[in-house]
Subunit: 251 residues, 2 copies
DNA sequence: CGAACTGTTGATGATCGTCAACTGTAGTGG
DNA sequence: CCACTACAGTTGACGATCATCAACAGTTCG
């Protein structure tokens, strides 16, 4: 199974990351070259197993090029909670550059392609390119902002609004790297995985989706998820994309 | 109302931050001096109003010196979700250095004292002290790890375990800066605020606390929260402090 | 003394989880 | 071609967890 929408610049893993950086801040032509050099020549590999990360002392960070991945943790009852979903252009474990002990797992939700960036490269950038390093720092802060938004949704929104909010967020993230437009995107993820993202049971997710379909807030047959009316679902989900910081902001 | 436990080095805001940095990584004597210089001469102010942060374009970040503060967001129903709790030694809005638009509020949960660190100082450090900057970066990543842990608790733990987990986490954070020992700490926070942290109703928090007391997992009369048996509550809450990264780790 | 705040209790209902059965579809091997 | 299997999705029945509303108790403070 392959995702029906492919990266525009296939075989060129820097493209989506650069797009995100451009969305989020201004970067100079020189800095673009450094990011490209960081990724150029890195092998892009297909990942078919469930676990992207293995071993205790990683020497490289993983950039997602294609597919959906997720960070998760298990609890003793056997339940799984997904704490973040990754789309192309995301570092799935930038953490491992600074935090030596991993406290969670990373799994693919669909078949994925990834590129590996050696920690030595990141260290070199952090020492010579303070502006770029601040931008990586910014990406970590945005990760935190997304986590906070998930906490708000999980704690204070009913299940249908929570699910709708997640769909809106994923759409905006994909749009930023050119993988979604016209309020539709490929989302070949099972309801079981969705349940692990929302902190619900699979059965309740099913009924929640039925409610969203009944209210004409989503269409989701096959792999493509579509919003018939963006404004309506955004209001229903109380979705405000400020927290994603996808627009250029004045310094 | 003042917290019964005071900072050991009162009037010296760098102390608790330095302790945390020492817990999390090795810093040289030179770097210690830089952190001290960063905070030295900054006015330490009492905050009695509810809102620490105001205005859209902050020019300084706020370091919490004494008291409890929290980041939160409101939803349309009027409910509030607290997404992070801050203890002395935390930057409550390090974000504002890199993210110009704030997407959440910061409020005090008890009377607080804070120190303001100008963004110009942080920028200078980021350009000249790459190792220190990586450490601030690391603190942002740990913030993210704590958020992920909250998501797991919120999504997959029942209310009593969730509350117990939160108490364990706060105890470890306070212990790292010398504000807790012997499995007890000052926690003068209302059940209403606790409900906003756990994503529950105040009534249900009350009953949850009664259950924890009935099982002898906590004692909480007045301001002091005490654990009669650390191992038991840690197991009950499935608490593992790895995600806090409070120990020095081999590079 | 009364007002405001926090904590507590009871009654009731909504949301969500669990268990089990069933459907449709896509493979897989005889 | 047809069982057979595996898997995702769906439905119904039932129970557990949690929210809501209302009332009341204890404390602090003016």
């Amino acid at each position: 199974m392959q995702l029906p929408i492919h990266l525009e610049a296939n075989g060129y893993p820097a493209a989506s990351l650069l797009k995100k950086l451009r969305c989020r801040d201004t970067i100079s032509v020189d800095e673009e070259r450094i990011v490209e050099a960081m990724l150029e020549g890195q092998s892009v590999i297909d990942v078919r197993v469930d676990f992207i990360r293995e071993g205790d002392r990683p020497v490289a960070s993983t950039l997602l090029v294609e597919g959906y991945a997720a960070r998760y943790r298990m609890v003793e009852s056997g339940a799984r909670q997904i704490t973040a979903i990754h789309v192309p252009g995301d570092f799935v474990d930038f953490h491992s550059f600074l935090m030596k002990e991993m406290d969670h797992g990373v799994a693919t939700l669909t078949p994925c392609r990834v590129a590996r960036v050696p920690h030595a490269t990141l260290k070199s950038i952090s020492e010579t390119q303070s502006h770029l390093m601040r931008m990586f720092n910014l990406m970590a802060l945005i990760d935190g902002a997304i986590h906070r938004e998930w906490l708000v949704c999980m704690g204070r929104l009913p299940a249908p609004a929570h699910a709708a909010h997640l769909f809106c967020e994923i759409y905006m993230l994909l749009q930023a790297v050119g993988l979604a437009r016209d309020f539709a995107f490929s989302f070949p993820v099972t309801q079981d995985n969705l349940a692990d993202m929302l902190g619900l049971s699979p059965v309740h997710v099913n009924r929640t989706l039925q409610e969203l379909r009944r209210k004409d807030l989503i269409e989701w047959q096959g792999e493509v998820l579509r919003f018939p009316d963006w404004d309506r679902i955004a209001q229903f989900a109380e979705f405000d994309d400020t927290y994603l910081h996808l627009r250029n902001e004045p310094r």
